[in-house]
Every structure is written in structure tokens, then in C-alpha cells.
């Protein structure tokens, strides 16, 4: 929603906590999607993933969706064969994070039409695009389902030549040139 933008912006001066990362993994512990909102080394990411997947998979079905892990709070939920797992900071709201997960699942579902794990495996790049439209830098950017899907639709259209804006519809060899021209033009306009 529009307003979230400005509130988070004001929050930044006060070091408002936020989501650290999101992981999707299967019941067998296979990682399906990973999104990191904090800069970490690959080694560290792997270590965290390994530990967390183990911890979450070891939990029984009726247990609560939150757990303390290192100095973070983990919020996770299982949807069919997939676990969605978010790490948030101490001050963050667990329930609203749980609903962020749900909204993301809804978005995937709407986009793929009854989404299943296979959709995410075979179209993982789409799953990433949808997540990026929904969350940016660990904050909910756009919580309206309609608006997120509209943005994805627009990005999808770019794949079709017909959908590419007119100025891009030039023979391939010219594209580089034309894009550069366009961009340098706008830069000039601004300055």
C-alpha cells in the first residue's frame, strides 16, 4: 500500500527491524527458493540454510510456527510439501509475517493457477519475480494482490516481442544503440 512506503522510510532513521531472509524448502529438505535481505557470504548462507532446514523439519506438525534461533525469530509454515520459512528480528511481528507468507502463497497460486511445488521448481525464476514485486529489501512493498499480479503481467509481457515497448522493437543489432540513445536522452533531459 502506498503508505507503507513512507512509514518505512521514516522508520529507517530509527533502525526499524525487518525480514532477514526467506527460504522455501521441501519436506525432504531440498531448497526451492532462497531470498536474502542481509549481505552474507555464501558459506554463511549455506550454513544457516542447513541448520535451519534441519531444525524446522525436526519439529512436529502441531507445534507453534515461531521459534527462537540464534538471535532471530523464525516464522515458518508448511503448505503441502513445501515449507516457507522467514527470519525476522526480535521486535518484529510474528503473526503479520505469517500472513506475509500466506499472501505470497496466494500470489503464487493466482499466478500459476493452483500452484504446486513442481510449478515452483520449473518456474523458479517466476517465483523470484513475484516475491520481488511483493517484498523489497525485506519489507512488504505492495500488499494488494491485484497490483502485484498486474506488475508481473507487465513484466511477462516484456517477454513477448509484441509486448516490448515500441522503441525497443528494432532489429536486434540496433537495440544496444537505441537503448543507449534513449537512456542518454532522458539523462540529458533531467540534468
Amino acid at each position: 500500500m502506498r503508505n507503507t512506503v513512507s512509514t518505512s522510510l521514516t522508520n529507517q532513521k530509527l533502525q526499524c527491524p525487518t525480514m532477514q531472509f526467506m527460504l522455501l524448502f521441501s519436506r525432504q529438505g531440498k531448497l526451492r527458493l532462497q531470498k536474502w535481505y542481509v549481505p552474507l557470504s555464501d558459506k554463511e548462507k549455506k550454513k544457516i540454510t542447513r541448520e535451519l532446514v534441519q531444525t524446522v523439519l525436526a519439529r512436529k506438525p502441531k507445534m507453534c510456527s515461531f521459534l527462537e534461533w540464534r538471535d532471530l525469530k523464525i516464522v515458518y509454515k508448511r503448505y503441502a510439501s513445501l515449507y516457507f520459512c522467514c527470519a525476522i528480528e526480535d521486535q518484529d511481528n510474528e503473526l503479520i509475517t505469517l500472513e506475509i507468507i500466506h499472501r505470497y502463497v496466494e500470489l503464487l497460486d493466482k499466478y500459476f493457477g493452483s500452484v504446486c511445488e513442481l510449478d515452483i521448481i520449473f518456474n523458479f525464476e517466476k517465483a523470484y519475480f513475484i516475491l520481488d514485486e511483493f517484498l523489497l529489501g525485506g519489507e512488504a512493498q505492495e500488499t494488494s494482490k491485484k497490483n502485484v499480479l498486474k506488475a508481473i503481467e507487465q513484466a511477462d509481457l516484456l517477454q513477448e516481442i509484441r509486448g516490448v515497448p515500441l522503441y525497443l522493437q528494432k532489429p536486434p543489432e540496433d537495440l544496444q544503440v537505441s537503448r543507449e540513445d534513449l537512456l542518454s536522452n532522458t539523462t540529458n533531459n533531467r540534468t
Binding site: M1, N3, V5, T10, L95, D132, Q141, N147, E180
Partner: protein
């Protein structure tokens, strides 16, 4: 939105993913991946220029491989090329961004390369491109990114012609950069204009340019926004303007009222979204901490959740109540839920919920309910998850001390702690109980009696032995009147534990023994006998050896008066903040003990224990050692304080005086006359530490040799340096001989299938038939058999310990033998393995 056909266009990718999924084993998967990597590498390196589709396909494959958890060390350049590719497939470019976001974030050189592409997109004025570029900046979020774009993004954010969707991205992107590099994002000049956006965008919403229905989530209007706003308010102090404050309180009341309304949907999403706002509102109420009415209402609401069927809500209610307990307005209201919380501690099936319950009990504890809460936490400890035991122990120790009305209760509690969770009782905890007993003479007799009783358990924790040794050494006289705890009984009880203890504990016990000699002259002969035996006076551990030698000398040379002065009762410890509290703070971070601090402020006067400035920490003990003229002053600082061995060199120390009485050469004579350094003991040396590398010095009276202690254990293949200070005392002609020995492993073990019946009675008969004594209640596992015996030959005696661990299910045994002679262990193990 039309459903997307699966595999959308990229057949090669779909085939590859299917291949991977069909792999039967990890090895097959790796093989397939390596094949693919080789293929992609050759394609990228090949002379033939790849078309956009292929590039896209291969980059996608690389991404997939990376996401499987494999390392990708190439393809980055190709991804960057996608960004500036001369084909018109826009998706390549989104893919290029995706690849970079996922993979590149630590590779700064590449980031510089892609910065140019991003710059172009940012100035393209095409909202889709701009958003993609902003997403990429936010996703990578590195310092390089911040350096390149921190000044550009605020401009986009406040520019009048920027589309709303781009503004959203720009704002969050800026937030991300601010978090990574606050120094680079200089908001000063922008702040007022950004705050202006707040009003502006309210207008956008209220003018309904967007369909508001979209932001209602399961009948809850804009839950994310509501939470954000409530969180935002928590960044500021309560408003001072009465009208504004009144309006805010009204809003908070409305939220509390809404929580009572019947749900508009049975879906869990509805209640989650609604309660997310409620919990955020409660956080704000606690943050303000000025509206008693709201605080109590919040507490009542959470009280309802404590018994909710949703585990999540029970967890959150316990968590949130913890902070409510620290407010003076709601502390009492929280306390009314004590039974429910205790019940949660006992019955919740999820350990993380139980942990919350334990935290809440700690937070709500005060003098009125301390006994009940401490008792419940103690009984929880017996079954508590291992990961949280240490913290629980610290909390119990703190509560027990803080709310002790009578100190016998405190002593009981700490001894119970050691009994139940001895392994998790840190030094701070048992130091503390000793400090308190020493500082309070009203509890000393009780402490001596209780610890004496506790030590009578057949298996008691080493920490109990430490506390027992110290307390009986100081105050054993207070219970010596009773023939059941006469001095000799006390000594024998302590000494029966001696051989099972580690070196530091043994050192402490030796100090306790010398104190016994002072307290009870009738024990002198017995104790001297113990000190004189080889296992003490020739102990391989230099600390133990030194103590044994010096205490023996002290007891035989010093007059009763000198002894009494040297071994005087410990002076009271200076009173400082409890080190346990400091430790818990360190463990949990600030805020974890806020309740305790609050209590300190509010109830200081009434507290038996006063405030937090009581009692020494470890450093205090050490410093008191330095100033106390007693050779046993380091009872507590066994390892950290200067070893007793240093005492003779310490001018002013009474120990030196004692030796001086015996003659000027006494210090070195004391070392040499006994001969414990002058010749290497025979290999049958019964010193107990096993598998230690031990160095024995062939020392002469002509040389003064000093060694720095080293780790008792040398790992295989490791090197250890030991410094020897050798001082020539007088002239000599024979070459000195340095003899270094390593103590071999004295334990032998064998695991084998049962050859005969595993019947208990048969086994017992067999073990007794060996001539060993069968020891009950020694092993924590009652299924195991533990035996001890001595093999006597004309020339030597070999002590043997045996443990037989049957596994009835597997029809297997594990047999362990430990003898004072290595060869005997091995042979016995072989022989006996055939018998069972």
C-alpha cells in the same frame, strides 16, 4: 491472469530440471550437474555467438544449479551481458537482474560492471525498468551499490513525475541502502520532503485512486499498514499534547474492543491479521507504559489467549506478557495467571512454548510467589531441553538469591540445582552460594549440615563436592558435635569422592583437608597419612603435588597457633553485583533481566538481599585472595589465581614465614628433601590421570628447576612447548639428566556379542566369581555393572576397575577396564570378553 504453461518456453531448462529430479542418488545428480556445467562453459567460451534465447536458457540453468546448493564460479559475465544485451528480449534482462541478485552480492567487481546498466534503467523513465533496477539495488544492497546510488534514489523518490509504484520501490530501496551504509545515505536534506509524502499518499489512498478493497485482507483492513503505523509510533515517546494522546488512547481502545468482537471469518488468516494488529497495539501500550487501564486490559486479553487452542497465540501471549510483567501497572495483573503459566510449563508439548512459559514465570516472580515459582522451575529442570538448561539454572539461582526470605531456603535451592542439573551449574553459581554462606553466619551451620547430607548420596555431582569441600572446610566444626557427622566421618565422606574428581576439585579438597587439621586436631594423623601417600605427594599434577607437600609440611612444622592464624576462617567477601546476573545478561543480551532491575529499583529497601550491589564476583574473590594472608585463600580460584607453589616466593606470605621458622634453606629443602622431584617414579606410578603426557624432572639439589604447566593432554601429532627454567645453585660435575615420560592409556575396551546368557543373576554371579566387588548405584544407568578389585602379586598390586554394559536388544556387551597398569587392562579385557 491466465495460467502459465509449465516450463514456459524454455524446453531445455525443463528437460534439465526433470533430469535432475530423476536422479536416483546424490552422486548421479552431481554427475549430471557437472556434465551440464561443462556444456554451459563450452557454450559460453565457444566462438559461436549465442543467441538471446540460449543465453537466457543457460543463465537459468546456472541459477537452478546454484539454487540446488552447488557453487557457481562462472557465468557472471554472461549475466551482466544479458543486462546490456543487444537482443530485444526484455526477459533476459529481468533474468540478468535475477541472476545478479541471487549470485553476485559478494563480488564487488561485477557490481561495478552492472552499475552502468542500472544507471541507464533508472533514468529510462519506464516504470518497469526503473522498478527492476531498484529491485536489483535493494536485492544486492551492498556498500558499492550504496556508493553508486545513494544520492540518486532520493531524487527519484520525491520527483513530482515519478509513478507511485516506482516511488514505493525507491523508498524501500533507500531504506535498504540506509541499513547497509547509513553514512552514505544522507537524509538531512530530504527528510522534510519525504515526510511530506506521508500526507501526500494518504491523499492518494483516500481519493481512492487505488481500489481500497484490494488492501482488505480477510475482512481486516490493511493489516500490514496498521502494523507498520503502530510500529512507527513505538519509535517515539508518547505525545505530549493531551488531545493527540487522547485520540491515540481511543484508537488503542478500539483495537482492544475489536479483539472481543466475534470473528468475521473462521479462516486463520482473519484471526492472524486481526491479532497481529492487536499484538502490535499491545507493544505500543507497553511502550507508553503510562495507561494503567490499557495495560490491565491488554493483560486480560492476553490471559484469554493463554488457553487458546492455537499454539501460536499461546506462544505470543506468553511472550507479550513477559514485557507486561515489567510494568508496575500490570505486574499484579500478570501474576493472577500464574497457575495457567505453570500449567503451560508442565503440559505444553512444544519446547519453545515451554521456554516462553519459563521466561514469563521468571518475569512475574517477586517475593510473594518466589517459592512456588522456584519450585516449579526446579522440577521443570529435571526434564528441560538441554539447550536451555544453563539459562534456567542461572535464572533459578538469581531468583533464589533475590527473593530469599531465609537463607536456608536459598542454600536448599542451590544444592537442589546442583543435584538436578549439576553439569549446567556454572562456576558463578557455586561461587555465589559459597560467598553468601561465608558472609552470613546465620546460615553457616545449616549449610554445613545440608551439604553433608547431600554428599552422602552415592553418586553426587562434582560441583556438590566442591561446595561440600569448601563449606565443610570452613564450617565443618558447626556440625562436628553430632557423632553422625564427627570430624572423621566428615573427612572420610569427602575423601571418598576424592578419586572421582578432576584436578581442580582435588586441589580444593586438599585445601579443605588442611583446614580440617586446624579445625579438628584429632584428624591430623589420618590426613597427614593421606597427604603423605604416593598418589598425593608424587602426583603427576604439579599443583596437587605442591599442595600435598606444602600442606604436609605446614601441618608438621607449624605450631597450633601459627596453624590457626594461617588457616583462619575466610573473611567476608566484599559485596558487589552478583556475577550470575552479569552472566545472564551476557547470555541473553540487555533487556533480558529487566524485571530484576525493575525489582531492584522498586523494592530495594525491603529486600533481604538489598540491591544489586551485593556479593563479589569472581574477580573479587581473586582480589581478596591477594590481600588475605592465608595460604588457602585460593580455594575458589584454584586455577585462575596464582598457584600455591608461587607462595614461597611471595614476600609477606605467611607460608614463607612458616618455612622460615624451619630454617633459611627450607623452601628448597621442602621440595628436595622429600625427594618427590629428585627421582622419576617407577612406571607403576599410581597417579590417576590417564593418557596424559607427563613430564618428570630428574632434579638435583644443585639445580633449581621450574616448569611452566602445560595442558595435561597432548593430541596425536600435536606439538607442545614447555619452558624449563633451570638455575644452577652450586657447582657440580655429573651431567644432569632430563627424563620425560608419557603416561600411556590405561583403559581398554571391547564390544562383543554375548556368548552366554545375559541373565542378570548369572552375570552377577560371574562377576563376583572373578573376585571383584560388585558396586551398586555407581553407574547412572542401573543396567550396567561396575566392579572393582585389586590383583595382588608378590611384587606389585594392580587396581582394576571394570564396567560391563549389556545391550539386551542387540545381544551385545561393552566391557571397559581401567587398571593402574596398562598391560593388565588389555589382557584382562581380552580374557574377560570370553566369559560373557
Amino acid at each position: 491472469m491466465p495460467a502459465v504453461s509449465k516450463g514456459d518456453g524454455m524446453r531445455g531448462l525443463a528437460v534439465f530440471i526433470s533430469d535432475i529430479r530423476n536422479c536416483k542418488s546424490k552422486e548421479a545428480e552431481i554427475k549430471r550437474i557437472n556434465k551440464e556445467l561443462a556444456n554451459i562453459r563450452s557454450k559460453f567460451k565457444g566462438d559461436k555467438a549465442l543467441d538471446g534465447y540460449s543465453k537466457k536458457k543457460y543463465v537459468c540453468k546456472l541459477l537452478f544449479i546454484f539454487l540446488l546448493g552447488h557453487d557457481i564460479d562462472f557465468g557472471h559475465m554472461e549475466a551482466v551481458n544479458l543486462l546490456s544485451s543487444n537482443n530485444m528480449m526484455g526477459v533476459n534482462w529481468t533474468l540478468g537482474y535475477l541472476f545478479i541478485s541471487v549470485l553476485v552480492n559478494s563480488n564487488s567487481e561485477l557490481i561495478r560492471l552492472i552499475n552502468n546498466a542500472i544507471k541507464n534503467d533508472l533514468s529510462s523513465r519506464n516504470p518497469t525498468f526503473m522498478c527492476l533496477a531498484l529491485h536489483c539495488i535493494a536485492n544486492v544492497g551492498s556498500r558499492e551499490m550504496a556508493e553508486a546510488f545513494a544520492s540518486e534514489i532520493p531524487r527519484i523518490l520525491v520527483a513530482g513525475d515519478t509513478m507511485d509504484s516506482v516511488k514505493q520501490s525507491a523508498a524501500l530501496c533507500l531504506l535498504r541502502l540506509y541499513k547497509t551504509s547509513p553514512d552514505l545515505v544522507l537524509m538531512g536534506e530530504w527528510t522534510s520532503r519525504v515526510v511530506h509524502l506521508l500526507n501526500d499518499q494518504h491523499m492518494i489512498v483516500s481519493s481512492a485512486s487505488t481500489d481500497l478493497q484490494d488492501y482488505t485482507y480477510y475482512f481486516v483492513p490493511a493489516p500490514w499498514l496498521s502494523c507498520k503505523l503502530l510500529r512507527l509510533l513505538q519509535c517515539y515517546p508518547p505525545p505530549e499534547d493531551g488531545a493527540v494522546k487522547g485520540r491515540l488512547v481511543e484508537c488503542l481502545e478500539t483495537i482492544l474492543n475489536k479483539a472481543q468482537e466475534p470473528p468475521k471469518s473462521k479462516k486463520v488468516q482473519h484471526s492472524n491479521a486481526k491479532n497481529a494488529i492487536l499484538f502490535e497495539a499491545i507493544s505500543l501500550i507497553i511502550h507508553y507504559d503510562s495507561e494503567p487501564n490499557l495495560l490491565v486490559r491488554a493483560c486480560n486479553q492476553l490471559g484469554q489467549f493463554l488457553q487458546h487452542r492455537e499454539t501460536n497465540l499461546r506462544y505470543l501471549a506468553l511472550e507479550s506478557m513477559c514485557t507486561l510483567a515489567s510494568s508496575e501497572f500490570s505486574h499484579e495483573a500478570v501474576k493472577t495467571h500464574i497457575e495457567t503459566v505453570i500449567n503451560a510449563l508442565k503440559t505444553e508439548r512444544d519446547v519453545s512454548v515451554r521456554q516462553r512459559a519459563a521466561d514469563l514465570l521468571y518475569a512475574m516472580c517477586d517475593r510473594s510467589n518466589a517459592k512456588q515459582i522456584v519450585a516449579e522451575m526446579l522440577s521443570y529442570l529435571e526434564t528441560a531441553d538441554y539447550s536451555i538448561r544453563e539459562e534456567m539454572v542461572l535464572k533459578v539461582a538469581i531468583l533464589a538469591e533475590k527473593y530469599a526470605v531465609d537463607y536456608s531456603w536459598y542454600v536448599d535451592t542451590i544444592l537442589n540445582l546442583i543435584r538436578i542439573a549439576g553439569d549446567y551449574v556454572s562456576e558463578e553459581v557455586w561461587y555465589r552460594v559459597i560467598q553468601i554462606v561465608i558472609n552470613r553466619d546465620d546460615v553457616q551451620g545449616y549449610a554445613a549440615k545440608t551439604v553433608f547430607e547431600a554428599l552422602q548420596a552415592p553418586a553426587c555431582h562434582e560441583n556438590m563436592v566442591k561446595v561440600g569441600g569448601y563449606i565443610l572446610g570452613e564450617f565443618g566444626n558447626l556440625i562436628a558435635g553430632d557423632p553422625r557427622s564427627s570430624p572423621l566421618v566428615q573427612f572420610n565422606l569427602l575423601h571418598s569422592k576424592f578419586h572421582l574428581c578432576s584436578v581442580p576439585t582435588r586441589a580444593l579438597l586438599l585445601s579443605a583437608y588442611i583446614k580440617f587439621i586446624n579445625l579438628f586436631p584429632e584428624t591430623k594423623a589420618t590426613i597427614q597419612e593421606v597427604l603423605r601417600c604416593d598418589s598425593q605427594i608424587r602426583n603427576s599434577d604439579v599443583e596437587l603435588q605442591q599442595r600435598a607437600v606444602e600442606y604436609l609440611k605446614l601441618s608438621s612444622i607449624a605450631s597450633t597457633d601459627v596453624l590457626a592464624t594461617v588457616l583462619e576462617e575466610m573473611p567476608p567477601f566484599p559485596e558487589r553485583e552478583s556475577s550470575i546476573l552479569a552472566k545472564l545478561k551476557k547470555k541473553k543480551g540487555p533487556g533480558a533481566v529487566s524485571v530484576t532491575e525493575l525489582e531492584d529499583n522498586k523494592r530495594e529497601g525491603g529486600e533481604l538481599n538489598g540491591g544489586g550491589d551485593r556479593g563479589p564476583d569472581t574477580a573479587a574473590i581473586a582480589s581478596s585472595n591477594a590481600s588475605t594472608p592465608s595460604p588457602s585463600a585460593d580455594l575458589l580460584g584454584i586455577r585462575s589465581a596464582a598457584p600455591i607453589g608461587a607462595a614461597p616466593a611471595n614476600a609477606g606470605s605467611l607460608l614463607v614465614d612458616v618455612f622460615s621458622e624451619a630454617g633459611p634453606a627450607a623452601p628448597s629443602a621442602a621440595v628436595n628433601d622429600d625427594g618427590f622431584l629428585s627421582s622419576a617414579p617407577p612406571s607403576e606410578d599410581p597417579a590417576p590421570p590417564l593418557s596424559e603426557a607427563d613430564e618428570l624432572l630428574n632434579n638435583w639439589p644443585k639445580l633449581n628447576v621450574q616448569t611452566k604447566p602445560v595442558e595435561p593432554l597432548v593430541e596425536g601429532g600435536a606439538q607442545i612447548q614447555q619452558v624449563l627454567n633451570i638455575e644452577c645453585l652450586t657447582d657440580f660435575s655429573d651431567a644432569p639428566l632430563l627424563n620425560i615420560k608419557f603416561r600411556p592409556q590405561q583403559e581398554a575396551q571391547k564390544i562383543f556379542k554375548a556368548n552366554h546368557s545375559m541373565d542378570t543373576e548369572v552375570l552377577k554371579a560371574k562377576l563376583l566369581g572373578l573376585g571383584t566387588a560388585l558396586l551398586d548405584n555407581v553407574d547412572p544407568n542401573p543396567e550396567n555393572y561396575v566392579c572393582a578389585g585389586v590383583i595382588q602379586t608378590k611384587g606389585q598390586q594392580v587396581g582394576c576397575l571394570l564396567r560391563l554394559e549389556p545391550n539386551a536388544q542387540a545381544q551385545m556387551y561393552r566391557l571397559t577396564l581401567r587398571c593402574s597398569k596398562d598391560s593388565v587392562s588389555r589382557r584382562l579385557c581380552e580374557l574377560l570378553a570370553e566369559q560373557f
